[in-house]
Amino acid sequence: MRYFLYKLSSFITTIIIVSMMIFFVFQLLPGNPAQIILGIDADPNQVAQLEKQLGLDRSSAERYMDWVAGLLQGDLGESLRYQLPVSDILIERIPVTASLAILSIILTVVIGVPLGIFIAHSDGKRVSIFLNVLTQLGISIPSFWFGFILILAFSVTLQLFPTYGYVPWSEDFLGALRSFFLPSFAIAVGNIAIVIRYLRNTILDQSKMDYVRTARVKGLKEHSILYGHILRNSLIPVLTIMGLLVADTLGGSIIIENVFSLPGLGNLLIQSITSRDFPLVQSMVLYIAIIVLLINFIVDILYKVIDPRIRLKG
């Protein structure tokens, strides 16, 4: 319980610090939102008017207080570019990025974990050398490039998947799966390779441990040694990596959403940064930061579930 409370309080403090950083860092960026919204051909009178309308003539400290007060009441403010409440815009986008991230993590686990075990199991054989080369490739290929290759192969040439857009899950489950499969896979490839490498290495390390020898001497079958003992101990480092990979997935989705023309958060983030849509950018970065912190929090809790011996020092 103490472990849980400690992790929870550090989670909350980090969020507060992040919120302050987000707000003030964006204030430092040059570029006047009113001018950017109206563009180079805008009338100077219009720009001045819009500045007043957007509240840009007030100091940044005042605006920070407004923002935080709004956040606490669940009001994220209004987007400068779309002139709509930020929460309305985010609600449209979150399902897209969430589907992408979740599917990509599922793919990572479903493909990465069994392959990792398999490679460790067949260590030294020809097939594992081949697979090792493949994982090295997987780590080094940039996801956006791989995305284009996937489109070229599966959408343009084979016509198996659509090249752009998405179908909501509620409308057509298989259609949604089809539209998210390639982009999720493009993001997952690098992560799968990383998971495979980690799992292989830890399994090989663990197999040399004394408890494995003891288990063998005890007469346990290889199968139950692997799944009952080695794997359980090997999953801790993999879990840590998975926590980091979630953050990576969210970052990867920014680029991949552009490649596959998916209207998700990443796509929106790029557009709102270039248009200096501060309320929207701040809410989005805060949201992403919270998700990443939340995942790490969950990972910390899971450590304890997998290995009850883990507790706080002192």
């Binding site: 919204i37 100077p44 779309y82 449209e92 974990v113 089809r178 359980r232 490649v259 023309s261 557009q271």
Partner: protein, 512 residues
Amino acid sequence: MKLVSKLIYIMVTILLLVACSNSEDSNETATDSKSETTNQDEVIKIAMSTEIDNLDPYISAATDTQSMMDNVFDGLLDTDESGKLIAAIADSYDISDDGLTYTFTLKEGVTFHDGSELTAEDVLYSYKRLSGLNGEEALSSQFEKIEKIEAPSDHEVVITLKEKNSAFLAANVRPILPADYEEQSTSPIGAGPFKFQEYEVGQKLILVKNEDYYDKENIPEIDEVQFIVMPDSEAAVLAMQSGEIDIIPGITPQGLLQLGDSVNTVSGPQNMVQLMALNHEVRPLNDVRVRQAINLAIDKDVIIETVADGKGTKLGSNFSPAMDFYYEAGLEDVYAPNIEEAKSLLQEAGVPDGFTLELTVPSDYQFHVDTAQVIVEQLSQIGIEVKIKPIEFSSWLETVYQNAQYEATVVSFTGKLDPYEVLVRYVSDYQSNFINYENKKYDELIEMAVESTDVEEMAKYYKEAQRLLTEDAVSVFIMDPDRTIALRSDLVGLKMYPIQKFNLEDLKSTNE
């Protein structure tokens, strides 16, 4: 522990299921798309690189949004390919001799998409919103010049201006909206050739043909148009290759190369002016001889050839031949490349060994960055050492455009329908005159032009103003780059206009 292995088996099974269902499903869609092409309802899909900012045409500020939504709305007037104003909702118009009163007679039987008739009352409502005469902030500075607006009858509108302004006429292409309709931002209603059907945020905008369009000759042939938001240009090209996109406006030369002969193209000047702007408050650029030397050292043909792949029109002043009637021809060759003359001009100006020049370039625009690189090379021939400073466009707008903190920059100005809107940038007291050009004679010419009621006379003043910009070597006016639209091979009829718009009612398919 058996659990883990079981879990793995389950996951593998799910994966296999997904893979199988995928292939089955795709077979279905393959047959679907076949039946679609034989279907009578033709759906045209157009790739757009930016999202819609607002569906309300008075709130939207993005050019791309306006070019899409232009199909939903009509104004009192419209423009043809040469930039000439033509009647649309208005049947005819009359301007009083003092140039202050504009009388528009509306066509009878024009209806909005909701079936209601378009009358003078709707024009009043729309123009009051634009001009701020409804008691709120004016939405357009062009309409702020309106003193009063009246409707003597259901089909007649009389507008009185505060002062003479010949540029006001072109402002009447702005959409007319139904009076007191509050939902323009979510389900817009206009009187244009296409009806708004649906907008899936960040994904696509669907428009359908308006069977009851008042201009019977121009009822669209295409039944449905979908504008697909595709931020990545490479993705759009791939989608066109796979047949999921039918039109890409503003396609890059690389994209065109990739598509090869499988597509039709329409291209032409877009009434844009790309220039290397020089800040006259910076030494030694304040000296006209130095600016002339820079003009003489830059070979615009080389820039057009290397940067635009030869697809551009050479300019000599801040004006594109796309607006032929007001265009002063022959200025593009005033400063034919001449290194020797450039060097001697620099000598006269007291900088015989050249100087260093910082060239600020908006890095988001590869086109301008490439242009800057050619300029570096060309100016090094006369001893001017150019340093490129790449800067994000958002920052460019503030530091260069608003605060004029720069020495030189490469940028382009998009086309306007009226020469006044194009040339007013160089008037001494214009707020965004970031070039800091000051010439009383120029100011007078623009003022005379805007007050003139005779078109021939007006054109004469505007031409003289263009000549002045060239003689004073105000900046280096480079080119009007062509805009190219790629279309599916059976699509024809799309035209280029001096402002960015797609008149989709022009589009026809030769497949029957």
